[in-house]
């Protein structure tokens, strides 16, 4: 479905690219610079600004191509265009953390970045953690510690926890709480989440 989507919007994309290019030329957007530094400008391969772009996202190790409007967030591209629904849309403004994914191994809120900004980057979502039937230690720890009720925030909590452990911010309960503070849990499972992160960090009994 994603591929046919990309094809159909690809048509729209090319028209918009042309329109966008023309608009900039008419408004003289790059002209002053070209006049000031003709040699530099001639060497510079600055692609014309465009309202859509073809983007390649390496999602959980698989290259996925998608044509998106520039205003589409990484979260919406993953969920609505690529069918990767592990990242959740809670607040859609960077406050709840349910959309947390890893980009090049770093945890980010996918609702606060545009898909076009993540072109050619590695994206890891909760779907990419388990190896076959074998759960990732953080997933196993969340189950062992019963670290959720409704589960809506859980995929974001787990992605954040994976990064938090890798960053080494698990020295104490207080440190875990501070460094997991970008992920809210409306059910209030924080004590169990902290225990799960602690367990997984220790590599203890899972």
């Amino acid at each position: 479905m994603a591929d046919s989507d990309a094809l159909s919007t690809g048509e729209r994309s090319r028209r918009n690219v042309l329109k966008a290019g023309a608009a900039v030329a008419v408004s003289g957007g790059v002209a002053p610079l070209a006049l000031a530094h003709p040699a530099v400008a001639a060497e510079s391969a600055l692609p014309p600004p465009a309202s859509t772009a073809e983007v390649t996202l390496r999602v959980n190790g698989v290259r996925r191509n998608v044509t998106v409007e520039s205003r589409v967030t990484l979260l919406d591209a993953l969920r609505e265009r690529l069918g990767v629904t592990g990242p959740k849309k809670g607040c859609d403004r960077g406050e709840c953390g349910a959309c947390t994914v890893l980009v090049e191994g770093q945890r980010v809120k996918s609702c606060m970045t545009l898909a076009v900004m993540e072109d050619n980057r590695d994206i890891t979502t909760v779907e990419g953690l388990a190896r076959g039937d074998e759960l990732h230690p953080v997933q196993a720890a969340f189950i062992q510690r019963d670290a959720f009720q409704c589960g809506f925030c859980t995929s974001g909590q787990i992605m954040s926890a994976v990064a938090c452990i890798k960053e080494g911010h698990t020295g104490s309960h207080a440190e875990i709480r501070d460094w997991m503070s970008g992920n809210l849990c409306r059910c209030g499972c924080y004590p169990n989440i902290v225990e799960a992160v602690r367990d997984a960090a220790k590599g203890g009994k899972l």
Partner: protein, 327 residues
């Protein structure tokens, strides 16, 4: 979110040229602020130029100055060994900001350019002189618990939200920029404007001018500097009141002191009066109280934020305790 054109370039001059030549153009760094403002309709640029690929992310000391590139990420700066050891107030201010996910993405330049958290500014259904000049300021007679007691005007009392900017104000940082007219060095004290009758003009930047770095002089006070942030919850929240303090003592008296405050003013607030009350004196209950009084001299509290007058004095006394002062 309104549709916009997007461009990404690895050349600083191209980025500046694109935005400068386009009245509705804007830069995007980490995106953690602009995406929200665009979703809410507070800002609606028709051209967004991504500065993420510019080679402006270096952090290092050169000729007695710490240079932090504008696209360095908050988290990387906070954990940089030189920043932690010789400019701790910057590291502490950054670690007290936002959440780990945001700090992984938000840039130093973007942090300095973030907009106020005033809820009337953020709500396009409300009047706001900052967002829509001339429409009025509902905060002055409305819900103003978070608002300024210093630096306000009849047009705006919104607080500047950046912790980083408060720490840089204490350390006399300079903002380096590149604009269509070339390079500029802007002392941080001149970078943020008081709202006056034009609260929509927040900084000294001209359209298309890009922050390329901030420069902070090394000093004894910087090496022992501290940040204290008081907020409504333990973490991941903006300041109700904050203090950046850098001071050194010799022979039992304060010989050099810089104090800047967040959460209480329309821009990061340096208090010359509070510094004067301490300079040349020992840190005693009396001198600390005098500094607190000087700090709130001329304050204009509103209906819901009068508590800040007391709270910021207590915050100052608290942080001075860390330097050996007694409350």
């Amino acid at each position: 979110m309104k549709l916009f054109d997007y461009a990404r370039t690895s050349r600083v001059s191209d980025a500046v040229g694109l935005v400068a030549g386009h009245p509705g153009g804007a830069f995007i760094g980490g995106g953690t602020e602009l995406t929200n403002l665009m979703k809410d309709g507070v800002l609606a640029p028709d051209l967004v130029v991504d500065v993420g690929a510019l080679a402006l992310a270096d952090i290092g000391v050169r000729k007695g100055q710490l240079l932090i590139g504008a696209t360095a990420r908050m988290g990387d700066v906070a954990e940089h060994p030189v920043v932690r050891e010789r400019f701790p107030v910057i590291s502490e201010a950054l670690l007290a900001s936002a959440s780990p996910q945001v700090r992984n993405r938000a840039t130093i330049g973007g942090n300095l350019m973030q907009r106020t958290r005033c809820w009337y500014y953020r709500d396009v259904g409300s009047a706001c002189n900052k967002r829509e000049p001339g429409s009025g300021c509902p905060a002055i007679g409305g819900q103003n618990r978070w608002h300024a007691i210093h630096g306000g005007s009849d047009h705006c009392i919104a607080v500047h939200p950046s912790d980083l900017a408060v720490s840089l104000t204490a350390l006399d940082a300079t903002v380096l920029t590149l604009g269509p007219d070339g390079r500029r060095s802007i002392p941080i004290g001149d970078f943020y404007r008081l709202p006056g009758s034009t609260p929509d003009q927040e900084t000294a930047l001209r359209h298309g001018e890009l922050i390329t770095a901030v420069e902070i002089p090394e000093s004894g006070p910087a090496a022992g500097s501290r940040y204290l942030k008081l907020r409504d919850r333990a973490t991941f929240e903006f300041a109700v009141v904050s203090v950046a303090a850098a001071l050194i003592q010799a022979g039992g008296v304060v010989t050099d002191v810089r104090l800047a405050f967040g959460g209480i003013a329309t821009r990061p607030w340096r208090s010359a009066g509070a510094e004067e009350a301490l300079r040349g004196h020992p840190l005693t209950q009396a001198t600390i109280a005098a500094a607190g009084r000087a700090l709130v001299d001329g304050a204009q509290p509103r209906e819901h934020n009068a508590f800040k007058v007391e709270l910021v004095q207590r915050a100052l006394a608290d942080i001075l305790e860390d330097f050996g002062g007694r409350k």
